[in-house]
């Protein structure tokens, strides 16, 4: 079992299996909606995991890119008649280029400056979305034109569940390919020792910049899907709290584990849904839960499970 989690095909099979199984078992539209939300969040979390778990950099403003993706599919079709599909790609391209432009100068510096810069960026995006009310609708947000494919409007949560699932699987395959490419090897090298990586001729700032940019694209696509699923979007999408939720998903599931990002997303999306019963106590319970998990499952859920499995059936599995 432990070895299975390590293998990339097993990883893919596991995620696909979970998506299909859950898709067949979900009883109603409400559950499909929550399921689609989990998968959509997982796409952003997988991207952020590349940055956090592999490049060792923290982004405290990733929701800013989610916001860019979300408003791309709302603004471009509404005001300029751009087709929705093209808007998704334009939003993603804009996010990627923006991340590259910010990342290049900042990532030359040693330390957690990207965290500070992204913090500023996230706030800036949320602020623009809130204040430019003439085109974004201000704090109340704006409606998102539905996606039309082959002449039919896609609005059923069930359809979005499968679209999000497919996108998540593609995202994971792409992430796996990236990690197995020369960029991925460079990432692993600089994770072990930045000095050694630099000595081996790796342009550390460039590699980190590329990963940051890719993670921004993931977040943007996730934002576009979120907007299309909900049919309405507000500046809250880009809020600091959402950025923190994304980071928490990654750390909760396990930094460096792509399956972990799905697990982390599932926990953080489903938990508040379950907690709405307690309404007044939502903040309190969510906060306590985050603290407890971070104390008792410090390496994240999936790596902790993996370690537990390894220890149980030690000899033949550890080789």
């Amino acid at each position: 079992m432990a070895r299975l989690i390590n293998n990339r095909w097993a990883e893919l099979a596991l995620v696909t299996g979970l998506i299909v199984l859950a898709g067949l078992l979900l009883p109603s539209n409400y559950y499909f909606r929550v399921g689609a939300l989990v998968l959509i969040s997982a796409i952003a979390a997988v991207g952020l995991n590349l940055l956090l778990g592999f490049a060792g950099q923290v982004s405290l403003g990733h929701a800013g890119f989610v916001g860019i993706g979300a408003y791309a599919v709302a603004l471009l079709p509404t005001h300029w008649g751009v087709p929705t599909l093209a808007s998704i790609f334009l939003g993603a391209a804009f996010s990627g280029v923006l991340a590259l432009a910010i990342g290049r100068p900042i990532l030359r510096l040693k330390g957690h400056f990207l965290a500070v810069a992204t913090l500023g960026l996230g706030i800036l995006v949320a602020m623009v979305l809130t204040n430019e009310a003439r085109i974004t609708g201000g704090p109340d947000g704006m409606p998102v034109p539905r996606l039309e494919l082959l002449g039919t409007r896609i609005r059923a949560p069930e359809a979005w569940y499968w679209i999000a699932g497919g996108t998540l699987i593609i995202s994971i395959v792409f992430a796996q390919n990236l990690l197995n490419s020369s960029t991925g090897r460079a990432l692993r090298a600089l994770h072990d020792s930045e000095v050694a990586a630099r000595a081996a001729g790796i342009n550390v700032a460039r590699v980190k910049g590329i990963v940051f940019s890719i993670s921004a694209v993931y977040a943007s696509i996730s934002g576009s899907l979120l907007a299309l699923l909900n049919g309405h979007i507000t500046p809250d999408t880009a809020s600091f709290l959402n950025s923190i939720e994304l980071v928490t998903m990654v750390v909760l599931g396990g930094m460096g584990s792509l399956v972990g990002s799905l697990v982390g997303a599932a926990v953080l999306v489903i938990l508040p849904q379950a907690l709405t019963v307690f309404h007044e106590y939502e903040h309190l319970l969510l906060g306590s839960f985050i603290i407890a998990i971070m104390i008792f499952l410090r390496d994240g859920i999936v790596p902790t499970l993996r370690k537990a499995l390894l220890e149980r059936k030690a000899p033949e599995d550890r080789v």
Partner: protein, 291 residues
């Protein structure tokens, strides 16, 4: 012209003083334990909210202030004991997430114990503005500036003159060595959380008559305090104070002369620009590799 400039500068210094105190609180905890405590803004919120509700319940203002400070200090120690200490070997990212979790818990409790409304306190010396060279200045602004200056002086004296202050510095320099010379580092860390919470609460009490407060004000204050800290140089108390003042001034001058809706954006842009030129902040030591 001059009057307007004075007006903006004064309001910038007032908010800057609060950012400076939040940044100083960050620095105290960071230096002692290496934790970036994102629940720092919640101490400011506790200070304001407890005072407001105590006064509303008929407690005289000075007593209400003492009560608020005590509550914040207890929450600070509890945060350390219940959330930070059990995870002390965790990575910095995990510790940051824990403090954000702590901030959510504090906010959640405040929302239940108090309410979600905006509250204000009357100014300590009335709410009639004083005219100073054409600029009108709230007496409370002087309270904020004077109080912040006093906090900074007392904190500096605490570290320089008292045994406990020196023990905190020793713990910060090398925890193991501090333990070897008989410092109970666990108590020292709890003290630095309590101290940090105390000054945060005082800042919150002083500024509530000007800016109002509600259960949510902590988030933005923590972000601004963190920005002040980075701008001034991580780990430097004087840097945090300077950073906070610069941030406050940037904000109010850009709000006055450029655009009030994007004042926060200008503050962050200035911070990033400074970092590109001076990566270790205005007063930070050039970074050396810790082995």
């Amino acid at each position: 012209m001059l009057a307007q400039f004075l007006q903006f500068t004064m309001s910038g210094l007032t908010v800057g003083a609060v950012y400076a105190i939040v940044g100083l609180g960050f620095t105290i905890i960071y230096n002692a334990s290496g934790v970036l405590n994102f629940a720092q803004g919640e101490f400011v919120m506790i200070g304001g909210m407890v005072t407001v509700f105590a006064v509303a319940a008929g407690v005289p203002l000075p007593l209400a202030i003492l009560l608020a400070i005590a509550v914040a200090a207890i929450v600070g120690v509890a945060l350390h004991r219940l959330a930070i200490e059990p995870a002390k070997d965790a990575s910095p990212v995990v510790l940051i997430i824990i403090t954000i979790g702590g901030a959510l818990v504090i906010r959640g409790i405040a929302q239940i114990v108090f309410d979600k409304q905006l509250h204000k306190l009357p100014g300590f010396s009335g709410d009639t503005p004083v005219n100073f060279m054409g600029a009108s200045i709230l007496p409370q602004a002087l309270w904020v500036l004077g109080g912040s200056a006093l906090i900074v002086t007392l904190v500096t004296l605490f570290f320089a003159k008292t045994m406990i202050g020196k023990a905190v510095l020793a713990t910060a320099a090398n925890r193991l060595a501090a333990q070897l010379v008989g410092v109970n580092t666990s108590v020292i860390l709890a003290i630095s959380f309590a101290l940090s919470a105390t000054i945060g609460a005082i800042a919150g009490i002083l500024v509530t008559p000007i800016t109002f407060t509600n259960y949510e004000v902590g988030t933005m204050l923590a972000l601004k305090g963190f920005a002040a800290l980075v701008l001034g140089g991580l780990g430097s108390p004087a840097g945090a104070i300077l950073g906070g003042m610069v941030l406050g001034l940037c904000e109010s001058l850009s709000a006055g002369y450029l655009s009030s809706t994007y004042k926060d954006a200008f503050a962050f842009l200035v911070m990033i620009a400074v970092l590109l030129v001076m990566p270790s902040g205005l007063l930070g030591k050039p970074s050396a590799e810790r082995v």
